[in-house]
């Protein structure tokens, strides 16, 4: 994948990320896509395909892409919808380019939690026979994951605050224990917003004179819904996704990239990601953290953007992580980056993208 011809090499050429606008969802999406097109000097006619990621439950619209599609420009366009996550829509977009089916694919993803009964929607993600009758949401399952990680490593829960301090994000919540070991300050804020990323072939980007970030490696993998318990303390599917992505990108040492953006659903997830991404050995995440290597000025900065605590809409975490990394590369803040995207009730879906700027 790192040696694809220019007409099938997927690149990220433009991004737009917007927070709350006060508009309706449809108006907000229109504004986001309009801003991307205007910023890149493009029109809808330049777009071959549109890959949407929408959550019917969070949007309160089914099939959401049918009513939100017009806002992102699907009229008279070939389009596809991912109901699982934005990173999966991005992967579909890249595959369209790699297959030579499209020169440009607009990828759009959003989350408007202010409109939705988020906890009730997340409860619907539980399977109905053994879990839903108990109840649960992402926060509860992230607490179960964090406890499993602490149980595996023997770490003190206070390590979460070390991660927050490293990322330079102000504590937005207090000391209140929400779901042990998670305290309010360990949970990212729930904000409305949307993300748009234009994926194009390297040849098309060059023909338009647009700067391009090459996607040189992609991997994705899914853990078993059923094998939870102690297994929750290890991002097994992230390790598998990383191996795929590194192999395709020809990246023997992930720590050699200029920076990493992870989906830090909680600070404990960032530590689990260090290990699964191969930035350190099993159980060595705290040593890597305390070495300063993942600090903004470290050898391999992780989440120097502040991660999800900077304010990222739910269900758009993954595409946002990619957009943040692409923007940094386009701004000259490094040449190679690694992005980890996660989705699902307990981060069971994991994807990895290896990016390289030209």
């Amino acid at each position: 994948m790192s040696a694809l011809p220019a007409d099938t090499q997927p690149c990220l050429v433009a991004t737009t990320r917007r927070g709350p606008t006060g508009d309706s969802l449809e108006e907000s999406l229109y504004g986001t896509v309009r801003a991307l097109l205007d910023g890149a000097g493009l029109g809808l006619d330049d777009i071959d395909h549109i890959a949407i990621a929408s959550s019917d439950g969070l949007d309160g619209r089914a099939i959401s892409s049918m009513v939100t599609g017009p806002a992102v420009g699907v009229y008279r366009h070939d389009t596809i919808n991912s109901s699982s996550s934005g990173e999966h829509a991005l992967i579909l977009a890249c595959l369209r380019i790699m297959a030579g089916r499209s020169r440009t694919v607009l990828t759009v993803n959003w989350g408007h939690p202010s409109e939705a009964p988020v906890d009730a929607v997340q409860r619907l993600e539980l399977e109905p026979f053994f879990h839903r009758g108990l109840g649960g949401n992402h926060t509860v399952f992230h607490g179960l994951q964090a406890s499993a990680y602490l149980g595996r490593t023997g770490l003190d829960p206070g390590v979460a605050d070390e991660v927050l301090r490293k990322n330079g994000v102000a504590a937005q919540g207090g000391d209140e224990v929400v779901a042990w070991p998670l305290r309010a300050r360990h949970l990212p804020p729930q904000v409305d917003g949307s993300v748009a990323v234009l994926v194009a072939s390297a040849a098309w980007a060059a023909s338009r004179g647009l700067p391009a970030v090459h996607v040189t490696g992609i991997g994705w993998n899914t853990s078993s819904f059923w094998e939870r318990g102690a297994a929750l303390g290890r991002l097994e599917s992230l390790a598998a996704a990383a191996a795929q992505a590194y192999g395709r990108a020809g990246l023997p040492d992930p720590a050699a990239v200029d920076f990493v953006e992870t989906t830090d659903l909680t600070p404990f997830h960032e530590l689990m990601a260090y290990e699964a991404l191969g930035l350190c050995g099993d159980g060595e995440a705290v040593d890597l953290l305390r070495s300063g290597a993942t600090a903004p000025d470290g050898a391999t900065p992780v989440n120097r953007s502040g991660g999800l605590h900077a304010g990222v809409p739910p269900f758009a975490h993954g595409l946002d992580r990619v957009a943040v990394a692409a923007e940094a590369l386009l701004a000259g803040q490094g040449r190679r980056a690694l992005v980890h995207a996660a989705s699902g009730l307990a981060a069971q879906n994991n994807s990895v993208f290896v990016l390289r700027s030209e």
Binding site: H131, G133, E176, F225, A230
Partner: protein
């Protein structure tokens, strides 16, 4: 146009009737009638899956034998919830994945009979590796649901 925009509120009341299938139905039949938990063994990897499934998603083959598990087991992970969430119980409450003796996978349920007022102390009591036991509700109160049983920590 006005600066003050409206919100349109709506409420849905949807009732689903999920087909449980023969394996889940048998699990709840045994729980309701006999007060025991049973799992299914995968003939290929030989793991006993609890909750039971009609197929092993790792080996992708039919499971075959029914195996009674527990009533004791070990906490694999846990949380104690202190914040109130929509559609969830009144906090605080403890939940744990417990791998019952004879099973190879863990099942989630509430842990009761524990003082949850102090989070650090509660977490220490529930730490992974702690032994727990299955407690099944009184026969006349069982409904053939996951809430027919819970866990308590062993002394």
């Amino acid at each position: 146009m006005t600066d003050a925009t409206r919100t349109i509120e709506e409420k849905w009341d949807l009732t689903y009737r999920h087909a449980a299938g023969p394996v889940v139905s048998h699990f709840y039949d045994r729980l309701q009638s006999d007060g025991v938990l049973v799992g299914r063994r995968c003939p290929q990897c030989t793991r006993v899956l609890v909750p039971p499934r009609s197929f092993c998603d790792r080996c992708y083959v039919d499971t075959e034998d029914w195996i009674e598990v527990g009533p004791e087991g070990v906490v694999e992970t846990f949380t104690v919830v202190y914040r109130e969430f929509q559609s969830l119980p009144e906090p605080p409450y403890a939940m744990a994945y417990v791998r019952l003796d004879g099973a190879d996978t863990a099942i989630l349920n509430y842990v009761r009979g524990l003082d949850l007022r102090e989070p650090v102390a509660a977490a220490a009591a529930l730490r992974p590796g702690t032994r727990a036991r299955l407690v099944v509700d009184e026969p006349q109160r069982r409904q053939g649901r996951i809430t027919d049983f819970w866990f308590e920590l062993l002394p």
